[in-house]
């Protein structure tokens, strides 16, 4: 039985060229693996970059914060985290377009601020960001050399800034005031005098804007 079965079994013809095809066939690529590996690699890279960014932010803050009152550190932290640690291109989007990323009631803030700063300052960032669990309405402007942030955050606990408060440390100038439920920060790497003139121009306009909100 076995021999006859074997004989019949061997009668099955082998397709021509099959051996060559088997020898020549490249290993099938597990296509699904490439996107997964790319995603994992990208995740790893972004993770490393993010950790690196946080370390840099911490280093800057560690060198800057001690000389500043606690209440000014709040705005400085978001300025360093969101504005300093960013690359700026020479052609930002139009202000109206950038303002679309703001909460509806804050949309006008972008126009108000850009109207009060020297024309060289262009609005690059206009959004709501979060740092260490706290939300900020953040406008970042750049003139090619200097960086300026106008930052609003809602008052928390017993935070209060009875009068305009300003201080500088480690090349950063921070001014702050309060308006209603908001704490407003103007942070920059401009010199002390430049910074004071920027604050003088921006602060009243922002106060007025917040009055209307």
């Amino acid at each position: 039985m076995s021999n006859r079965l074997r004989q019949a079994f061997d009668s099955e013809p082998i397709p021509p060229g099959m051996e060559t095809r088997i020898a020549a066939r490249p290993a099938p690529r597990r296509l699904w693996m490439w996107p997964a590996m790319a995603a994992a690699a990208a995740g790893l890279i972004f993770g490393v970059l993010y950790i690196n960014k946080l370390r840099t932010v911490d280093a800057i803050l560690a060198a800057t914060e001690p000389a500043l009152p606690e209440i000014l550190r709040v705005g400085l932290r978001d300025h360093v985290y969101c504005a300093v640690m960013r690359k700026y291109n020479s052609a930002p989007k139009p202000v109206a377009k950038l303002a679309e990323d703001l909460p509806a009631k804050m949309t006008g803030l972008a126009e108000v601020v850009t109207a009060k700063v020297p024309p060289a300052f262009k609005l690059h960032v206009s959004h709501v960001c979060k740092f260490k669990g706290r939300s900020f309405v953040h406008l970042a402007l750049h003139d090619g050399q200097r960086l300026l942030s106008v930052i609003l955050t809602k008052r928390e606990n017993a935070e209060s800034i009875p009068a305009l408060l300003a201080a500088g440390s480690n090349g950063y100038e921070v001014a702050a005031f309060e308006k209603g439920e908001w704490l407003v920060y103007i942070a920059s790497d401009a010199s002390g005098a430049e910074s004071r003139s920027l604050v003088a121009a921006i602060a009243p306009a922002v106060r007025e804007f917040l009055d209307r909100v």
């Binding site: 039985m1 076995s2 074997r6 019949a8 009668s11 099955e12």
Partner: protein, 160 residues
């Protein structure tokens, strides 16, 4: 390669699928060659991969445990498989073989056609030796019945 392809044809009953399975077998063999233990039966190793590939294709039917029978009784039954009439055509024999249930066909292919040991067959199919024997016994019996039918169709043998 020929044996692997032919067994794949018998198990899949589809020549195109059998070609794919054969290619996959050699690809897997190439990739996992480091796991082949030198000194062991290379053919049995290839057939293990083959049945794994076929199993992958048609998951489930290997897992069916049909029956358990006394192994000594089976040994006796298995000792003398009935001869197949020489005048039956290859096509007729293969058709009868293809007609067996997949689990019986697998055992007949490995033990009677490839002449692998019960142990090797059991390892390839992931079955206890007793199950291999019982399936072989049942497979041969089924094959004989089917071949009788084929023979009668051709006007060969049958009741006098």
């Amino acid at each position: 390669m020929a044996d692997v392809y032919r067994a794949a044809v018998r198990m899949t009953r589809d020549r195109t699928k059998a070609q794919d399975v054969t290619q996959e077998v050699f690809l897997q063999a190439w990739k996992s060659f480091s796991r082949f233990e030198s000194g062991t039966n290379c053919k049995a190793w290839l057939f293990k991969i083959l049945f794994h590939c076929v199993d992958h294709e048609r998951r489930s039917w290997w897992r069916i445990r049909l029956f358990h029978t006394d192994e000594e009784f089976l040994e006796e039954q298995l000792a003398a498989p009935a001869p197949i009439p020489e005048h039956l055509s290859d096509e007729g024999i293969l058709a009868a073989l293809d007609d067996l249930t997949p689990e019986h066909r697998a055992v007949v292919l490995l033990t009677d056609v490839q002449e692998l040991s019960y142990k090797e067959t059991a390892e390839i199919l992931g079955l206890p030796i007793g199950t291999v024997m019982s399936r072989l016994s049942r497979g041969r019996a089924q094959l004989r019945e089917k071949l009788d039918g084929v023979a009668k169709e051709y006007g060969i043998g049958g009741p006098a």
